[in-house]
Symmetry: C2
Subunit: 157 residues, 2 copies
């Protein structure tokens, strides 16, 4: 019953495979360096700094610059999510399918919001207040695109 609780080493290959497919689907080349970086990200499901990754790939002959370029590419293709850390560093992790529901208080429409948007906030809530945010069970209130446009016709700047 607790068979699929193990998010450890075995799954990593699967995740890497999926990421590589995604990469090919975007017409990007699969190189040794990129594979290596994806392996690292898959292994450390948590956050890894670009610099962290660079440090670990250096031994394997993958250059810092390559790491930065690859991570940027992965982020652009949606393969990884990224997040800014205090101090200016950027943390990366494989993108998951997690998403959050935005609920428009005007038209009641529900909007799917991208997964990585709340990573940073979730992290800080956990650290500062011990609250473990669960995006999949949450929906947040606000105003959607069109209702926002509509309301700005009748009111304040």
């Amino acid at each position: 019953m607790n068979r699929h609780v193990e998010h450890h080493a075995e799954d990593a290959d699967v995740l890497v495979g999926r990421a590589i497919q995604e990469l090919r689907a975007h017409g990007e080349r699969v190189t040794a360096g990129r594979r290596r970086i994806l392996q690292l990200l898959a292994a450390h499901a948590e956050h890894l700094t670009a610099d962290d990754v660079a440090a670990r790939t250096d031994d394997d002959g993958v250059h810092r610059a390559t790491v930065y370029r690859s991570l940027e590419l992965f982020a652009a293709t949606g393969i990884v999510a990224h997040r800014q850390l205090p101090g200016g560093a950027t943390a990366y992790h494989l993108a998951t399918s997690t998403h959050l529901h935005g609920h428009c208080v005007v038209c009641q429409k529900v909007i799917a919001l991208p997964s990585d948007v709340f990573d940073d906030a979730a992290d800080r809530m956990l650290r500062q207040r011990g609250f473990a945010f669960d995006p999949n069970r949450s929906s947040i209130m606000g105003t959607c695109d069109s209702c926002r446009a509509a309301s700005s016709l009748s009111a304040e700047e």
Copy 2:
């Protein structure tokens, strides 16, 4: 009826005054530079980069280093909130009393979460999906400190 809609120049002095009191309350000195920086933050209720502030104070003889040191101090004393931008810069604004409710899915307890935690996320949702997040009307789901501790006794790592 629309008298207090104006969040423009007039209020700024009040906000600065409040910030300065707060500063004194923390036993910190009030200098020309600090006053100037607070004025800037009060004037631009949105985000201002440390670098932005530095650029604008340079003319007034307030040095870059002073700006960084002051902003760091303000953040430490809770007078301003800060947020990391892509590219490594940090955006600052006067702290408000805005907060969000965290709802524990286990014990149903509601927890007040600090305001600035969501600045980043709100910004990205607005940009990426046109969704204007309203923290004051939202409560998000998750697990609180104690329930999290309790559940980790019976399950995964």
